[in-house]
């Protein structure tokens, strides 16, 4: 703890740390809107109790300060699995002073984060029974068509919500086992990863078929996270459970990864593509490191080395690379959220 604090002090110009009263997992950075001189950051707790918390922080890149907004903290049932702000680059879609925040956990929820308060807008529940619940492991907000949110569930399905109308657009049995993550590529195309070890691409225009882009070498080794390269949609990255590998896929060559990044010394927990570059990706894991990689045009014989590294001192659980602040990477470890300048 001292070590990392020390570090953040040492590099105070390049990193900012926020200490939370509880362990953090989910995290989101608001898109940069002109109306907000300060960027909002939402962090979700990981507390092994029913009631968890979501805190909203204000980050000022000018003076590197992070200010919690106690009035904007609110309860969330169960630890949220993912947080995401409305991706709209067009601010006309939202009220100037408020942000829409979506959370996933037992259900998908939509919150309106106002100037001084947070209002629960809606809860999206597609369950047929009230008694049982199939938790959502993740979701993704469609940037091009922001009324669409796709959720991934352990009930093997992905559900596409029309959040404006509050209805399910479609629900697909996407995998043979639990679905762990989902990512949009286009307005109607998304991909998902699952405990069945596969990465599949779906097109809402042809719901009868999916395309398997990758299958983990040992059948049924779960794939936990998926990141689609927004700058070059041919590429996506995924991570395997308990593996130090980051698998880079080219959807043009299914089943064979274009690269496997293997310099982490422990399991990788999170990945994020650079918002402004098609060739860079950041990964973070249990080896306490965050690594930034550049994908070479040709991989060397000894694998690929990352370009730069950062050690947090604790196992890094979360990693976000905000489009609004492409020079900042946010990581979460233990009770801390840290912003790193890159």
């Amino acid at each position: 703890m001292e070590n990392s604090t020390q570090e953040s002090h040492i590099r105070s110009e390049n990193s900012v740390t926020y200490d939370s009263p509880y362990p953090l997992y989910a995290m989101a950075l608001s898109p940069n809107t002109n109306s907000h001189p300060q960027q909002r950051i939402a962090v979700g707790s990981f507390i092994e109790e029913y009631t968890n918390r979501i805190d909203i922080l204000n980050f000022n890149p000018e003076n590197f300060s992070i200010k919690p907004q106690p009035s904007l903290s609110f309860d969330h049932p169960y630890p949220p699995t993912k947080l995401m702000f409305h991706p709209a680059t067009n601010s006309s879609l939202q009220k100037t002073s408020s942000d829409l925040l979506a959370t996933s956990g037992d259900y998908l929820r939509l919150w309106e984060v106002r100037e001084n308060s947070v209002e629960a807008l809606s809860l999206f529940n597609n369950s047929k029974t009230s008694e049982f619940c199939a938790p959502l492991t993740s979701f993704d907000w469609n940037e091009i068509e922001p009324k669409r949110i796709g959720t991934s569930s352990i009930d093997t399905t992905c559900t596409i919500w029309d959040i404006e109308r509050g209805v399910v657009e479609t629900q697909l049995i996407a995998h043979d086992k639990e679905v762990y993550d989902i990512a949009w590529g286009e307005s109607r195309v998304f991909a998902s990863v699952s405990a069945d070890g596969s990465v599949r691409i779906f097109d809402l225009r042809d719901k009868e078929h999916s395309t398997i882009i990758y299958e983990s070498p040992q059948p049924d080794t779960p794939l936990l996270r998926l990141a689609w390269n927004k700058k070059d949609l041919r590429y996506m990255a995924t991570i395997l459970m308990d593996s130090n590998k980051v698998v880079i896929l080219d959807i043009r060559s299914p089943t064979t990864p274009v690269a496997e990044l293997e310099r982490h010394r422990a399991g990788v927990n999170a990945i994020a593509w650079a918002p402004r570059s098609s060739k860079h990706i950041c990964s973070a894991g249990d080896d306490t490191q965050a690594l930034i990689w550049e994908l070479p045009t040709v991989a060397g014989p000894n694998g690929i080395d990352p370009m730069t590294m950062y050690s947090a001192g604790y196992e890094i659980n979360q990693l976000q690379w905000s489009a609004a602040q492409p020079d900042w990477i946010a990581i979460a470890f233990a009770n801390k959220m840290q912003l790193l300048r890159v």
Binding site: E48, Y78, F132, T137, T157, D181, S253, M307, L340
Partner: protein
């Protein structure tokens, strides 16, 4: 500690940092996008030295990175994905999640449960969902359904995870209908025999069968999982031909499989590129396997020519095992019911409705080899007419006259330009052709509709031109072109021997395998295959067992194809067990003409055949206890008719003897011609007496001999049947079947109804039980035997009654779960037969008649003969004296034959006296259901022609095997999910 170490390592190497920074900057500069990571919060990456790496590897191997975790806890990402249910349960003990509520991904369409308590859809397909577990109860084995590989009218093929072996398998889930069920048993039987007996080391490129069981009333057959089929492969190659080296490689492997089939006397009947699959295990590159034996059958002649006769003389006379006869007859009969071979690969004899042999597979093989080379089918006939037209055009010539003369469909495609006399004369002389192919106009005039003619791919070239002019691959060096030129000449010669109109001249697998195209030897001159190894027909020895309890069984009939001991032993059927028979002293054979003439009790025998066949069918490997056959009482019949005797001698030869191809069938069955085959009709048509009596009459046409009788019988039965008011197809055979049945058992209506239709549905049944090997063996033995044996045994009416009983029993047993014992070659059971009442004359007559009947119509169907049954027994061949063959037979029988447990109970009565109780005896609760189903099944099943489900199902387009992944070169736009990549129809929409 670890943190410290990490920290140290990141800070300690300042010098290196500088260096690596430069590298970084270089790379970054070279990247097209402007952005690159700066070293602000991050520092340049420092590769670890080897020691560190090794240490890490050790640690990783030992503890899965735990050294980095302060607390031994799972990463949060895991706790909110893989373990989210546990995590949420910790957060809230009331949290509930049930996997069972997950929406199911249906693989089967339609997915609405209609039949079988909602387990089946309207098509009687088991409704499959992902992760459905198919359970083999007896073995406690679980197969988890993962995907659908294909489907056809027979059912579905699913890719399943076998948790016992941690591997994927392909499971064929047969429709819950008796016809398909039984048909699938044939496949099980054939493949098991092929695998275990003929190819225990998996060297012959035949798909492996791993397991089979019944789940939710569906027969499930578990196969090794294979990859793409050759059609898909060609398609992936954009319908360009494969390189000639690959063609050679594949041809060799297919031949290897075909040689095995030939040895086993099995006709695949549906050989085509879709049924040849690449192996997944990439141990051997480009290894292929032949799949789908759902259409396979035993060679007709094999089955046909072997007759088992049980001579039992303690009381009055001899007893024939009627079941055997029934099987023989029925097999032959059924073999004509189903169309075989997918059109492009259909041999001329099948197309023309001529008897067929393993040679039809060689034809198909030739077509496949050509297609592999050309990328397109050699004979893409849009109709049968078109198909024949293409054959004639590409190969030149036409089917030989002897085929045309006897083939059932000749008149559809040919006109006769000679008289009957001409036919006679023309035999032997090749120049005077008696038949001329119809022109398109003539065909139209006859058929009243235009034949569909497909697109011309080869510019009306002949075979030589097609192969020679086929474009060479680009960029092929000159010397390679010269080399391939030679290989192509070899290929042409090779194909010539395969796509040969005359089935008798067409090469056998063995002959073909010595061709330079296969062996790789330089091709210098046209290949002349050495004649097939002569079979050892006559002197085949079968031991006669004289043990006190034993009766004599012997096999009668000629089998030209019996080649050796091994083969015979393989074939021997487990089903017939002889034991405890009183000493027998005479031999008999079935099917004498004499009996025919005696003619009493027509209908009954006929019907019984059908029935018994059913029973056989049910006596499937799966049946637990085998069948209880109550032959005993009813079976007795002995005739000493001289005619019969003679008949036996010549039985295989009838009709054929006259024909050029029939050389083998000449009085002594020594011939080696592969084409030989005795149609069922031969029995009826061959006049009693010496070979001299055999006229040129062809079996098909010459109704004059005995067939009139048959016709009458059939007709009358038909009427009877009508009276009974059963619905059914008007088909003669079928009708005859059922009518007989009714005739026999006027009293027992309900039974009769239930069973009467069965014959239609049971083609497969019979097949499954019959054992080609035995037949063959017996046949060969029989030949010699016949000559010496004065007396014949004729099955009689008694047999009929028995058979009915049997049928019922079968109904019961057939649906019970599989019993390994049924399979096990070493498993042995009770004896078959005991004594029975005897009524010589009637028996023989009836038998004769039934044969007759059988012969009347066999040509009208096209089906294939399916059929080997279980063939496990250890028959000893080759023991010298003729009389010994009985023993041999016995041995063979002594294996697992379950037919006869109830022998002693039989009623001797012939007509309708059999006990009804048997019918209910031991029937499982669902028996009634089955019966009902059965009733419908036959009609559909027996329909000849395209309507028959069999046709559709087995010859259909189901491609089995994994779909290929797309070539990587195609770049799908993101917005369009690439059709190239592996797609599946698997996920369902829920909303």
């Amino acid at each position: 500690m670890d943190e410290v170490r990490v920290g140290v390592s990141s800070c300690s190497s300042e010098a290196e940092q500088t260096q690596s920074r430069d590298t970084v900057e270089e790379t970054a500069a070279s990247s097209s996008s402007g952005w690159r990571p700066r070293e602000l919060a991050f520092v340049a990456f420092v590769p670890r030295d080897k020691e560190e790496q090794q240490e890490d590897e050790r640690v990783n191997a030992a503890g899965k990175f735990l050294k980095y975790r302060a607390f031994v806890r799972r990463p949060l990402v895991g706790r909110l994905t893989k373990e989210i249910v546990e995590t949420y349960r910790i957060c809230n003990p009331q949290f509930k999640y049930s996997e069972d509520l997950n929406p199911k991904r249906f693989l089967t369409s339609p997915s609405t449960g209609v039949l079988n308590d909602g387990y089946d859809n309207a098509n009687s397909d088991l409704i499959l969902t992902v992760n459905l577990v198919l359970i083999h109860v007896e073995k406690s084995r679980r197969y988890i359904v993962k995907d659908l590989l294909g489907h056809g009218t027979f059912g579905q093929v699913a890719k399943c995870w076998d948790s016992d072996t941690n591997s994927f398998v392909a499971v064929k889930i047969i429709k819950n209908q008796p016809a398909y069920y039984q048909q699938a048993l044939v496949e099980v039987t054939i493949l098991t025999t092929l695998n275990k007996k003929y190819d225990p080391e998996d060297k012959n490129h035949i798909v492996r069968i791993y397991d089979y069981f019944v789940y939710q009333r569906h027969l499930c057959i578990c196969f090794e999982l294979l990859d793409t089929n050759l059609y898909e492969l060609i398609k992936m190659n954009h319908f360009r031909g494969l390189s000639i080296g690959i063609v050679q490689l594949f041809s060799k492997q297919i031949l290897c499989g075909l040689a095995l089939l030939k040895d086993a006397g099995i006709i695949h009947c549906d050989l085509k590129p879709e049924n040849i699959l690449l192996c997944t295990s990439s141990v051997k590159q480009a290894e292929i396997k032949i799949i789908d034996f759902g259409s396979a059958c035993m060679e007709n002649r094999t089955v046909y020519s072997y007759i088992q006769v049980y001579i039992h003389c303690r009381k009055k006379a001899f007893m024939i095992n009627p079941v055997v006869i029934l099987i023989i007859w029925y097999l032959n009969y059924m073999s004509y019911l189903f169309p075989l071979q997918s059109r492009y690969y259909r041999s001329p004899e099948v197309l023309l409705g001529y008897q067929y042999t393993t040679a039809i597979d060689m034809w198909s093989f030739g077509c496949i080899v050509a297609e592999l080379f050309l990328g397109l089918p050699l004979f893409p006939g849009a109709s049968e007419f078109d198909l024949l037209r293409r054959m004639i055009e590409i190969i030149g010539g036409q089917p030989p006259d002897y085929v045309l003369r006897d083939a059932k469909n000749t008149s559809k495609f040919f006109k006769c330009i000679g008289s009957l006399q001409n036919i006679e004369i023309s035999e032997g002389s090749k120049n005077g052709r008696v038949y001329q192919a119809l022109t398109e106009e003539e065909y139209e005039a006859r058929d009243l509709k235009k034949p569909s003619i497909g697109k011309e791919y080869f510019n009306n070239m002949n075979l030589e031109a097609i192969v020679t002019n086929y474009p060479y691959r680009k960029n092929l060096p000159k010397e390679d072109i010269a080399k391939e030129k030679q290989t192509r000449l070899a290929l042409i010669d090779f194909l010539r021997g395969l796509v040969e109109f005359d089935p008798a001249k067409r090469w056998s697998p063995f002959q073909a395998s010595k061709h330079p195209f296969i062996t790789g030897e330089p091709f210098t001159h046209p290949y002349r295959p050495s004649p097939e190894t002569p079979y050892i027909p006559v002197v085949q020895n079968i031991k006669v067992d004289n043990h006190p309890g034993g009766g004599h069984w012997f096999a009668a009939g000629l089998s030209p194809n019996v080649s050796g001991k091994n083969r015979a032993s393989l074939y021997s059927s487990p089903h017939f067990q002889m034991a405890q028979h009183p000493p027998a002293n005479s031999y008999g054979s079935v099917g004498s003409h004499g009996s025919y003439n005696d003619g009493a009790g027509l209908g009954s025998s006929y019907g019984s055949y059908g029935e018994s066949s059913n029973m056989f069918a049910y006596y499937s490997p799966i049946a637990p206890s085998g069948m209880n056959m109550h032959n005993q009482g009813s079976m007795s019949m002995l005739g000493n008719s001289p005619d019969a005797r003679r008949r036996i001698k010549y039985q295989p030869g009838n009709g054929l003897g006259v024909s050029p191809s029939g050389g083998n069938f000449a009085p002594l069955p020594l011939g080696a011609s592969p084409s030989q085959f005795t149609p069922p009709s031969s029995y009826s048509q061959i006049p009693v007496g010496s070979p001299g009596h055999f006229g040129p009459t062809s079996p098909a046409r010459g109704a004059s001999h005995g067939s009139p009788l048959g016709k009458t019988a059939a007709a009358s039965q038909f009427n009877r049947r009508k009276n009974w008011g059963h619905s059914g197809s008007p088909q003669t055979q079928e009708t005859a079947f059922s009518s007989h049945w009714h005739g026999q058992y006027p009293d027992s209506t309900s039974q009769a109804e239930g069973t009467s239709q069965a014959p239609g549905s049971s083609p497969s049944y019979i097949q499954s039980n019959i054992n080609p090997g035995n037949w063959k063996q017996r046949g060969s033995g029989g030949v010699s035997a016949n000559q010496k044996i004065p007396s014949m045994v004729m099955p009689g009416s008694n047999m009929n009654s028995q058979s009915t009983e049997l049928t019922h029993d079968n109904v019961e047993t057939g649906f019970s779960l599989p019993d390994p014992g049924d399979w096990d070659p070493n498993y042995s059971d009770e004896l078959l037969l005991q004594e029975g009442g005897s009524d010589e004359s009637s028996l023989s007559t009836e038998f004769g008649r039934s044969m007759n009947l059988g012969s009347i119509e066999p040509w009208s169907g096209f089906g294939r003969l399916n059929g080997p049954g279980q063939t496990f027994s250890t028959v000893e061949m080759g023991s010298p004296p003729t009389h010994d063959f009985q023993a041999a037979y016995i041995h063979s029988m002594s294996k697992p034959f379950h037919l006869m447990p109830h022998i002693s109970q039989n009623s001797p009565s012939r007509f309708g006296h059999q006990s009804v109780q048997r019918f209910t005896h031991g029937r499982p609760p669902q028996g009634s259901d089955w019966n009902q189903i059965k009733i419908q099944a036959p009609s559909g099943f027996s329909n000849v022609g395209p309507r028959s489900p069999r046709n559709a199902s087995f010859t259909g387009n189901m491609s089995w095997g994994r779909r290929m992944n797309p070539p990587t070169s195609s770049i799908p736009p993101i917005s369009n999910i690439p059709p190239t990549s592996r797609s599946r129809k698997d996920y369902a929409r829920i909303d």
